[in-house]
């Protein structure tokens, strides 16, 4: 009974998605650990890290899609939540360096010694304790989203106005984190990590483990998001997206609904950021750059907003393109491609890749497969 309900909840496309993720989660580690370099089945550690990075981006995209695709909140500041989660994790990793830093100070990270800090700033207290750091991964973006959303939604800031002030928010943080006296490492950010929970972050085993954890986190995120959007709550979100004032006249407190989804989405973004940092080995203020947040929006748009699978797929596709472009002679054309993608998606395929797929399938198979229906 429960399995049936689960299957119904996830729907066909979601099941394919979960199956692919499970496959990745099993095959990539095997390819990396069991096959020696040179073997055709070998997956290099670099590829593991790259895929892991894509997966955290996919999580960010799913989070953004919950807010934008389902509730119409186009946040141009989700990169900030991602970065805050990343910084929380980065702070834990910095504290784990201990005396192995260049200056060998037992408590203060290198950059603080360099900047003549005498003691650890209060913002850093407790970050050597892993559960506390993990709590902050959720709380820092969650609280920011709560305060910001509470103010914004209550005063009914909607549409582009909201987008613009979310962009201003991430821009303000961007400027702030560049400052040395914020105590977060200034423009160098946090890097040179050594251990996570006692395991060397550089070690192959740790990297593979992080990859598996990221796969699990993405699957978890997807299932949670799927449960949310198929509940009545999800239906109300869509109602708000399509006719906000009508929803209000039905007696729904639109601001509460938005706030819940916004905070939840920010927290998921924070977790994605926290998984991102140990894999790439650095977090710096450029993660707050407004362009990063907009780029995340285009992932969702490319994959198909309002479809969770689409958001994740979009993150994968666009980032694969980015890697492909920026590592070769095409590097200087990447921004042309990305810019063109923005224009193309909005003009030619407003429902993204998945929408296009549905349209094509609709055309060639029997007509009228319930057009306009929400896909998984």
């Amino acid at each position: 009974m429960l399995t049936m309900r689960f299957l119904k909840l996830i729907e066909g496309r979601g099941l394919v998605f979960l199956a692919v993720l499970t496959g990745l989660m099993l095959l990539v580690p095997i390819g990396n650990l069991a096959f020696p370099p040179g073997s055709p089945f070998h997956v290099s550690t670099g590829t593991v890290v790259l895929l892991g990075k894509y997966l955290t981006y996919a999580m960010l995209a799913v989070a953004l899609d919950l807010a934008w695709g389902y509730c119409g909140i186009l946040s141009l500041g989700h990169g900030a939540f991602f970065a805050l989660g990343g910084y929380a994790m980065g702070m834990y990793l910095m504290r784990q360096i201990g005396t192995r830093g260049v200056y060998g100070h037992p408590v203060l990270p290198d950059f603080m010694v360099f900047l003549n800090y005498k003691e650890l700033p209060m913002t850093w207290w407790g970050f050597d304790f892993f559960p506390y750091a993990m709590m902050m991964v959720l709380l820092a973006p969650g609280l920011l989203a709560f305060v910001f959303g509470w103010l914004a939604f209550r005063s009914r800031v909607t549409g582009v106005y909201l987008s613009i002030i979310t962009q201003a928010l991430t821009y303000a943080l961007f400027l702030a984190f560049f400052r040395n006296d914020m105590g977060f490492g200034g423009n160098n950010g946090l890097t040179d990590f050594k251990d996570i929970l006692g395991f060397n972050v550089q070690a192959q085993g740790t990297r593979v483990t992080l990859f598996v954890l990221t796969c699990l986190a993405l699957m978890g995120t997807f299932i949670v998001a799927r449960v949310i959007v198929s509940s009545t709550y999800g239906k109300v979100l869509i109602a708000i997206r399509d006719a906000e004032s009508r929803t209000r006249f039905l007696g729904y407190r639109v601001e509460h609904y938005k706030l819940v989804v916004f905070v939840l989405s920010a927290m998921i973004a924070g977790v994605a950021g926290a998984l991102y940092v140990p894999q790439v080995g650095i977090i710096n203020p450029s993660e707050f750059s407004p362009a990063n947040s907009i780029e995340a929006v285009v992932w969702v748009a490319v994959g198909g907003r309002g479809t969770l699978v689409g958001a994740a797929l979009g993150a994968f596709v666009v980032n694969y393109m980015k890697t492909f472009f920026t590592t070769g002679w095409l590097a200087s054309y990447w921004l042309f491609a990305l810019g063109g993608l923005f224009v193309l998606v909005t003009l030619a395929m407003p429902k993204g890749i998945l929408g296009l797929y549905d349209q094509l399938r609709g055309k060639f198979s029997k007509p009228a497969t319930e057009p306009g229906r929400e896909a998984a």
Partner: protein, 537 residues
Amino acid sequence: MRILALLRGIGLALCLALVALPAAAQDARPLPDEIVTRFLADSFGDTEAAIGAVAASGAPQAADMLQALGDRRLFISASAKGLFYRDGAGKGFDARTGQPADVPADASAVRLNNRLRGVVQAALGTLTLLSPDPVQRLRAAESVFKSRDPAALPAIEQALARETNARIRNVFEEARAAIIIADTKAPEASRMAAASRIAETGDQDGLALLRQLSAQATGNLKSVIESSIQTIERRQQIRQAGQTVWFGISLGSVLLLAAIGLAITFGVMGVINMAHGEMVMIGAYVTFMTQEVFRARFPHLLDWSLPIAIPLAFIITGLVGVLIERGVIRFLYGRPLETLLATFGVSLILQQAVRSWFGPTNREVSAPSYMSGSFEFIGLQITYGRLWIVVFTLVVFFALLLLLKATPLGLQMRAVTQNRRMAASMGIRTRFVDAMTFGLGSGIAGIAGVALSQIDNVSPNLGQNYIIDSFMVVVFGGVGNLWGTLISAFTLGIANKLLEPFAGAVLGKIIILVLLILFIQKRPRGLFALKGRAVEQ
């Protein structure tokens, strides 16, 4: 263009007024033989008399001679019965005529004792105080102010009597007052008068002097000095405030300039154009290219490249704007979020196009002569560049206002944005008006780029620095309200500069952003919001 000529005229007149000097005798006049004889006598008494005579002679080489004397480079030659000196580079001159000449082999340096050294210095001071060059006179007076050497008093008095330039007179008077007030032997009444004189026009140096003296002074003098200190401090505070407001206005005009175009495309049309900053950037590059062409072809007209770049930038960015509108935006009317994304894509493409074309590095746009330099206005240092930008911004603003309110195109624009279908049925070509409106907004952004090329680095990233600020300005002012944009830009500019002394530039900016975010929460429609049913649509 006529204006420009007029401006140059004014500038020239200003320069002349500054340089106008008391016509001093420049003709070569040989020193009287008597002076040479006295030096040849080689006694300290005669030398002292000779020094006085040299200073009083008014000969053009007098200053060089005295300088040489002080440095033991003035020589007497018994064989040639003459007086010679070498300049700092070792070149020889005949002191009597001031013409180059070989210094004879038997020449020996004129001897000085410490007292005479003082006399030489004082004579030199007097000489420069009387110099025909106003810059030298000014510098001499300032050094007297600093040294407060009572020996220089007669020279100052003498110079003051001859001085006609008001600005230099002022410095002379201050210097005289400084000597008197610092002279403990001077009568108290005149010292008090001197303190008041310093209070009248004194600046930081005067303040330092008075503070130093107030510690030693007693009685009436002390109280006069203290009130003088307060006078100067108050004046400095006012000046500081004035300066802050000016900087704020200057920043505000930059914000306004960057935002005006957006006030059209976003405010009037409701189009979220994330490529707005790139329009500004293109305008700046048009300026750069115009200047390069002038530099290569018509170097003597280089100063004209900026005025000529204005219409060019307007036309080129306007065309780019029309292309964007026709190619992208028109498919997205009524879908603001999609417009936002598509135009962001356009902005990436434009940035990269400029980067591939011109390279990623900063390009240099030089300031024309009428925009460099600065002047003082009631104690405020105002650079011509900033002043022109403020004036230019206001001109653009009011021209735009006029265009919207008083021309058929403006009327049609407002008609289309208020009720598209109605306008269409009245025979207005709405698509054409859309394109023109967007082109206008973009063109104005391009004009902004011309001005901003003067104060910012011309690089592919130029636009990104302005886009968020511009949106904040428009939203804060109230969308669709040009006056709101004006007030908002200047408010934000001044607020930013007020915060800067306490918080620093970056933190100040962050604080402003946070305040703006909070403000928009409180009043989502900005300072001057339109009310009513139409807004909801």
